[in-house]
Amino acid sequence: MSLESSVRLLEVKGLQKFFPIRKGFLKREVGQVRAVDDVNFHVQRGETLSLVGESGCGKTTTARCILRALTPTAGQILFRGNTGTVVDVARLSKAQLRPLRRQMQMIFQDPFSSLNPRRTLFDIVAEPLVANRIGTRQDRVERVAELLRMVGLRPEYIRRYPHAFSGGQRQRIGIARALALNPSLIVADEPVSALDVSVQAQILNLMLALQKQLGLTYLFVAHDLSVVKHVSDRVAVMYVGRIVEMTETQRLFGTPKHPYTEALLSAVPKPDPRLRAQRIVLEGDVADAANPPTGCYFHPRCRYAQDVCRRETPRLEEIAPGHFVSCHRARELTLRGVAG
């Protein structure tokens, strides 16, 4: 690994985001949903870190805090800007955020609702350029054409409206728009989950190719572990607002150390009828973030739970170089991963 790639582009420390629960006529606060509760991770320049987990685990909230679509309750979001200085995104004012927004962009899940149906392809892709007053109109036309070529669309489409495009093409438009300002960090929130299977692969390949070509850094938010395996260098598994396991992709899939990771991997239906293995079926539902259980949040569903798990909250510990696990029994358990 070169020195350049070992630079931490993003570092998240102690991130918390709580949402108030209000009740009654006076909207009194009666509780809190701890959507993100003490999340720590970093993303190196040029790599892809994936946040995975089930609905309500806080992965999207984390991503939104990083982009400051939400203001965190506590914690630091350290981002290394183009000039090399590190700023805490969590503390910046709106005006201070503006230059940084050019360096972090987002790709959305739903290619149908994330593009304005009344604007042409040119308007959509050039919007970030216009908003930041970059280039003349002619410059913008050239830049948009270049971006469209980069994402595999024909520049002749520039005057068309989104309805003329398929789901996969619309997602390409969304990617072109995200790339318009040469960002260094792309946050992709479920970028392929709304697409057909045959089109998913095209978009994933495109994202990998663009990363290589432009040296992009991805924070990838997804629930589909097969997709995550295809794109990630490292993976962080979240459960009820916390990271429960984080390590290199191969290691996480091959030798998981957290019982929740094991159960997630086992729950994925494998596209091979000869592999109808005994699945681990978790009992019950995901814990309620407004009223989480005591001790380890996963213990009511965990088949390895002991007394200590009910009493004490485990900490995210580095049990091997670069392998972080939040489980009291991480060192003694031998869990089942997936081959390949």
Partner: protein, 339 residues
């Protein structure tokens, strides 16, 4: 049981078209398949392939401007010593008493969206009781007891209490269980599950798939499972029907479909799905292009514009038909049956 029981449901050359103002959409265009008792048949395909419209056609709940324009759907009724009779569902009045008896009575349906499939202003119990009393002559109290029994069967804790709750009070997984309970409340022989786990998380999905398997074993149910998820198909189905743009392109036993697929679309689809067993950060093989808009359906084989084995002059001119290629496996492709 004898060696080769006849199918309990046969779909033959089913055509369901939609006639909006802009033109004609051939949503299902000549689909044929058989369903055998106590088996799970998977109908798999991407958006617009006609898998859901096929299910809706079987239940005669296709919404206007769509209607069945051709083919037959034969439901075999009667068992034991009664001589079975074949009933063509396409000939029945969709609103008539017979069809109402079949919906829910013979064939149950589970939708993808458990949130929108339940009425938000009636309790789960009200809806299940209503369903039961529509089909069976029982008192309100008996229907309620049956409802509690059903919720218990699908693994909902505290069924007596849950029966009086509204759909929004249940989690996604519990809601889908309640939906299955309602679909099974009148003891249908066939359950059609249309993307039953698509809106759910993986661990919840595993629970629901497990439940369907147990119910099938216990109640001897026959299941039609409609999904775009090939992993779900591989884990659940005995037989698989692969659809593309309203046509069945291939069908056969699940092992043949996954280990010896014949149609170029099936082959490409299987190659292009991200697999949890794949090597990290590798390029995926893709299928070129995208699914055509339903108004711009290509002539000939619907897959030819994206097909690697496209034979000019053949595939774009003639329509292939579904023909046998091996043990119970049929394919609709000129590579195997020259025009």
């Amino acid at each position: 049981m004898d060696g080769n029981p006849p199918p309990i449901l046969s779909v033959r050359e089913l055509k369901t078209y939609f006639f909006p103002d802009e033109g004609t959409v051939r949503a299902v265009d000549g689909a044929s398949f058989d369903l055998y008792a106590r088996k799970t048949l998977g109908i798999v395909g991407e958006s617009g392939c006609g898998k859901s419209v096929t299910a809706r056609s079987i239940l005669r709940i296709v919404e206007r401007p769509g209607r069945i324009v051709g083919g037959s759907i034969l439901l075999r009724r009667g068992s034991g010593n009664d001589r079975p009779t074949d009933l063509d569902l396409t000939q029945l009045d969709p609103e008539g008493p017979e069809m109402r008896q079949i919906r829910g009575g013979d064939i149950g349906l589970v939708f993808q969206e458990p949130m929108t499939s339940f009425s938000p202003v009636h309790t789960i119990g009200n809806q299940i009781v209503e369903t039961i009393r529509m089909h069976q002559r029982v008192t309100e109290q008996q229907a309620r007891e049956r409802g509690v029994e059903m919720l218990h069967l699908v693994g909902i804790p505290n069924p007596e209490r849950r029966l009086d709750e509204f759909a929004f009070q249940l989690s996604g997984g519990l809601r889908q269980r309640a939906m299955i309970a309602m679909a099974l409340s009148c003891g249908p022989r066939i359950l059609i599950a249309d993307e039953p786990t698509t809106a759910l998380d993986v661990t919840t999905q595993a629970q629901i798939l497990d439940l369907l398997r147990h119910l099938q074993e216990r109640e001897g149910m026959t299941i039609i499972l409609i999904t775009h998820n090939l992993g779900v198909v591989a884990e659940m189905c005995d037989e698989v029907v692969v659809m593309y743009l309203g046509r069945v392109v291939e069908q056969g036993p699940v092992d043949a479909i996954f280990h010896a697929p014949k149609h170029p679309y099936t082959q490409a689809l299987l190659r292009s799905i991200p697999s949890i067993h794949a090597t990290v950060r590798t390029e995926l093989p893709t299928i070129a292009g995208s699914i055509p808009h339903p108004y711009n359906r290509p002539a000939g084989c619907p897959f030819y514009p994206r097909c690697q084995d496209f034979m000019p002059g053949t595939c774009d001119r003639n329509e292939p038909s579904l023909r046998p290629v091996g043990d119970g496996q049929d394919v609709s492709c000129f590579l195997y049956h020259p025009a």
